[in-house]
Structures are given as structure tokens and as C-alpha cells.
Symmetry: C2
């Protein structure tokens, strides 16, 4: 049994989901994977909680009900940044703070601090990957650190793992995906006759959409995922502004119904492709036949279609439970893969 010491930054839906999973399945994970995952530090906007013997997940969740993990018995207000990483003494950083495409903070600062401390990275927040891809990957390579980020490209889709473990010996030419659950859910509601506004409201009520759904409905979130996929899997050097981006605000109920009458569905689709040696990405609403692998997805189902030469076409889709659990499980699968790739797990 190996102890794996984890510092986690961010304790929103994803972080709390990780804590719930460790609370509910920690014992089973120890038995199955031969590793004990210890949260030795968790930071959020209000401060941090630290315990080098491993924080109790439930006490973090209880403290969060009062606004911040700093309210936990071992919590400290104003503990953050480098001081937090120093005190957490972890091997792994799980970066799960909310995404920010302006300066990628606080995530990028934590990631740099963690690399400086020789910590491997499990990244669930897109900002740093989108804004600092080359820097981040070069620094990690140079330091011999491992970087996992399955949670950033439309979790729980297995896009990265398909490329890494399944499509070996092939050349990936094109990837199309429905990678934003909120836009998908809004469009699904509209396909049933709801207006755009009602669709957004329903997605908010289901806990899928944020109070400000801009990042989702205007395609920023899908565009960020396209950047990461294009850079990671097609060797691109994309930034957010390289993505031709059109959101779903302009989609009308009339268009949805017309598509339906033709046996089609309108979906927000991200397309990343290589033509000669140029990698391009776009995000736009597209009409797809209901029999198409992406057109057939319903509600908040996500999907990805990968064209790989000379194999053909491989498709994956996922239908998850509550919002947080699929992404939290994706963070944990990255942690377990890290443990195996490092030789920590049995």
C-alpha cells in the first residue's frame, strides 16, 4: 500500500465531487489499486485546510457549507499560493479551480508552483492549458513530470485515452465532438419546443448550467476544449482566438423543428482537423442526421468521433449522472493512471 499525497486547488463542484468519491469509495480504491489517496491540502477562495496525515473528506464538505474549506477544524483563512503548496507537502497537484481565460489564475500560478516543487499534475481547469500550453508542456517535460488533463476535454469522454492507448499506429486526421453538456441540454430542450430562454432556464434548474451561461452557450467552453484537443492530439499550436466560434444563441426553435422534420438534430459541434500540416478548429451549431453518432445523442450526452488513418472511424459517447460526478471521476481516473504510470499502484 502506497500513500499518494494530493494537494487540491479549487473546491467547487468538481473538488467536492472528488471529496465525496473519496469518502464513499476510498476503502474500495485502496483495495483495488493498492494506493491510499490522501488529500493533504485543499485550497479554495476563502483559504485552505491542511493535514499531512490526510484530511477527512466529510469534514471538508461540511466546512464548505459555511462557504470555505478554511472553516474546517484544520482550516486557515488566507492560506493560499506558495505557502499553501509548501505546507501541503504533496506529490500531486489536482488543479480544479474555476476556469479563467483571461490570465488562467489562480490555476497557472499553482501549476507553476507545483512544477517547481516537483509535483505531478492532474489538471481539471482549462485556463492554463489553453493560455500556456507550450510553456506548461515544455516545463513538465524538462522536469520529468507527468501531466494528465482528461477532465478538460469533455469529461467523461475517453478522447485522450483513445488517442493514447487505442489509436496507436494510426494518424488522427479529424476529431468532431459534442463536448459541452450545457449547450447540448439547451438544444435538447429546444428540440422539444422550448424557447432558447426556457432551455437555458431548464439547464440551470438541472444544475448543468452556470448562473452566467455565457462560456457554454457562446461556445467558449467548447472552443477551449478544441484548443486542448488540437494541441494534445493533432500536434497543433492553437490558441482560443484561432478557433472559429459560433454559439447557440442564434439558433431558433423554428430551425430546430425544421431540422427535426428532416430527421436531423442541431448540435453544437467542435471540429478539429489537420489539413496538410495545418491544424484548424471550429465550433458551431450543425445539423446532423438522427442516425449520425453525434446527431443521435440526447439530453446532456457527450460524444466524440475520431477519424484515424488507416483504421477508419472510432466513436465514443457517455451519459453521466449528476453534473459533478463524471468530471470528478475523470480527475480520479487521471490520478489512478498517474499512480500506475509512476509505479505507485499495484
Amino acid at each position: 500500500m502506497t500513500d499518494v499525497r494530493i494537494a487540491m486547488t479549487g473546491f467547487g463542484n468538481v473538488g467536492q465531487g472528488v471529496a465525496e468519491l473519496l469518502r464513499d469509495y476510498g476503502e474500495e480504491y485502496r483495495r483495488r489499486y493498492g494506493v491510499r489517496l490522501l488529500l493533504t491540502g485543499v485550497a479554495d477562495r476563502g483559504g485552505a485546510a491542511i493535514d499531512s496525515t490526510g484530511l477527512d473528506p466529510q469534514s471538508l464538505l461540511s466546512a464548505k457549507r459555511h462557504g470555505t474549506v478554511a472553516e474546517a477544524p484544520v482550516g486557515e483563512r488566507d492560506l493560499r499560493g506558495d505557502a499553501f503548496l509548501e505546507r501541503a507537502r504533496a506529490q500531486v497537484l489536482v488543479e480544479a479551480a474555476s476556469t479563467n481565460f483571461q490570465d488562467a489564475e489562480p490555476g497557472w500560478g499553482y501549476i507553476q508552483g507545483a512544477m517547481h516543487r516537483n509535483m505531478d499534475l492532474v489538471i481539471a481547469s482549462k485556463g492554463a492549458l489553453v493560455l500556456h500550453w507550450s510553456d506548461l508542456m515544455a516545463s513538465a517535460r524538462q522536469a520529468g513530470l507527468r501531466v494528465y488533463f482528461s477532465g478538460t476535454v469533455g469529461s467523461p469522454l475517453p478522447t485522450l485515452e483513445l488517442a493514447d492507448r487505442v489509436l496507436l499506429g494510426t494518424r488522427i486526421d479529424r476529431i468532431e465532438g459534442i463536448v459541452n453538456g450545457t449547450a447540448n441540454e439547451v438544444l435538447a430542450a429546444m428540440a422539444e419546443g422550448a424557447s432558447y430562454e426556457e432551455g437555458v432556464q431548464r439547464a440551470q434548474e438541472s444544475g448543468m448550467a452556470e448562473t452566467d451561461p455565457t462560456l457554454d452557450v457562446d461556445g467558449w467552453d467548447a472552443a477551449a476544449k478544441a484548443v486542448i484537443i488540437g494541441n494534445a492530439l493533432l500536434g497543433g499550436n492553437l490558441t482560443l482566438s484561432d478557433v472559429r466560434r459560433e454559439g447557440i444563441r442564434g439558433v431558433t426553435v423554428q430551425q430546430m423543428l425544421e431540422a427535426r422534420s428532416r430527421g436531423q438534430a442541431i448540435k453544437l459541434i467542435a471540429t478539429i482537423e489537420r489539413e496538410k500540416s495545418t491544424v484548424t478548429a471550429r465550433v458551431a451549431p450543425e445539423s446532423r442526421p438522427l442516425a449520425d453518432p453525434l446527431g443521435s445523442l440526447r439530453g446532456s450526452e457527450m460524444g466524440v468521433v475520431i477519424h484515424a488513418h488507416p483504421l477508419g472511424v472510432m466513436t465514443a459517447s457517455a451519459r453521466g449522472g449528476e453534473r459533478a460526478i463524471p468530471t470528478s471521476l475523470t480527475v480520479l481516473r487521471d490520478v489512478f493512471n498517474l499512480c500506475r504510470d509512476r509505479g505507485w499502484s499495484s
Copy 2:
């Protein structure tokens, strides 16, 4: 650059496909994965070819046109079995002889001989896995050898990799799959109005079906895949006789058309599930809605649906090119994964 020495037993569609891929993409594989795959020995029914510096793939393919690799310049009639393995001096056995569910020979003999010589295993032939699962896995574990067999469960589906790398932290409760391309293609032809006999003939003409399609249309092939999936992913201890098996001979055009008029399709589906601690498997024609992930697959498309707690449902499907290439690529992806897991590749 690391040389990886491979002995391959069987040089039918799959083996020849591997040779074609190495001929066409060998240089690219060296560049991308940092390993040089050398076929140091290839055996078929007529004998073997051996070259410790690496056989030329094209010369093997040319020799095979005369019936056996033994016709190659470095070929030897009657070289087989232990003498072949001894002479091939390889690190890896790729076992791709035709499947046999009576005694699993010659595959099982080669696999045992390879383990005795400390060789890792990439298995593309189902016989030994179905008949000798426990023995094989226990021996490999004891000897510290690695065993890969993605090509045996419906290639190129990523079923094993999804379980191994993506569904970590979940408990797989049920797996449903369309894992036999021939049955699928026969049923697709019948859905368009062809009789069963015409469907079989078309599948034979397309190169998908064997001259004797019994293993495919009577569900033996799908049942064998269900045994391997059940044992590998659900911890079962199944044998072929444990699978409730019904093939597609009894399916009538009338039933196909009726299903279609209800918006459904009849597919040969393998289901493996755990109830309490018992793992069961069955193979049978089932009627599925066209909007269902398996019901929507067409022609020879394969698919798998995995129910995993607490994640939800993950689906994967694949549409390949010619018959041999998807399975040959699956063999190679196992080889590349082996190379990485062993630390041979960069």
C-alpha cells in the same frame, strides 16, 4: 531507438495485415514510438521463416502467395513449435493462428512455450484465452510477463482499454456489445430485404465471412468474446458452455421488416453482466431501437456499451476499413502499449 524482437505464429489475414502495416508504416512507427519492431520469426501451417536481424515483411507476403512463409528465402518447411521459438529468439510472441475451441492448438502450445522462454504475449486468437484463461493468467503473473489481447474481443473496439484506463474508480456492472462483424453484416443485408442465405453470401463476397460461417452466425465467436470480456473485466470464471447462445440462423426477413416498421433493428448482441457476485453471459439476436447506441450501428460496425457505477453509461463504436486491417492494427496497438508499459519506447 530500441529493437523489439517479435515472433509471430499464424500468417492468415491478421498476420499478413501486420506485415503490410510494418512494410508501409514501419519507418513512421520508429520515428513516433522510438522502437523498431523486428519480426524475427513467422510460422504458419507450412513451416516458418527466421531471420534474427528482422524479416522483410514484403518477402513474407510474397512467399505466402505460394502458400506458406516457408517459401521465403529464409524459410524452412517443417520448422514449428519449440524449435521455431528457440530459433526466433524473440522478446514477444504475437499469437495469431486461427482460432480453435476444441484444444486451442497450436496457439496454446506456442503461448506456453513463449512463457517458458520469458516472452511477453500479444494474443489475437481466442482459443487459448477461452479454454485456458485461469492457467494462462496465473502463469503469466507468476513469471512477471505481460499479456495483451485487445484483438480478441471485437477489434478495433476499445473495450479493454476503456476498462483499464478510463473506467478507473468505477464498478462495471454490465457490458453489451455487437462484437461479430459477419453476423452484423448478414443482418444488415437482411434488413434491406435479402434472405439469410443471400446475406451470408454477400458477407462472404465482401471478404468478411469465412467459407464456413458457422462460428459467426451461430454465435460461437461472439460467445467466445463474451467469455474473455467477462473474465477479464468482470472477474468472471466463464467457459464457452456457460454462455447462453443463440445465433442468427433463426432470424427471418419477416422479423427484420417488422422490427424496422417499429423503428427497430435486430442485432446479434452479447451481454455480460454481474448480478450480486455471479457473472453471466449470453449471446442472442435482440431487437433494438434505431436510436439506441447498438441499434443505430450499420453494416459491419461494431459497438460496445458499458454500464459503470457511479459514472453512468459509456459507449464506443468503430467502423473499419478492410477486414484484416482493424484487427492487425489492434495487434500493433497491443505491441506499442507493451513497449511503453515495459519502458522500451520513448
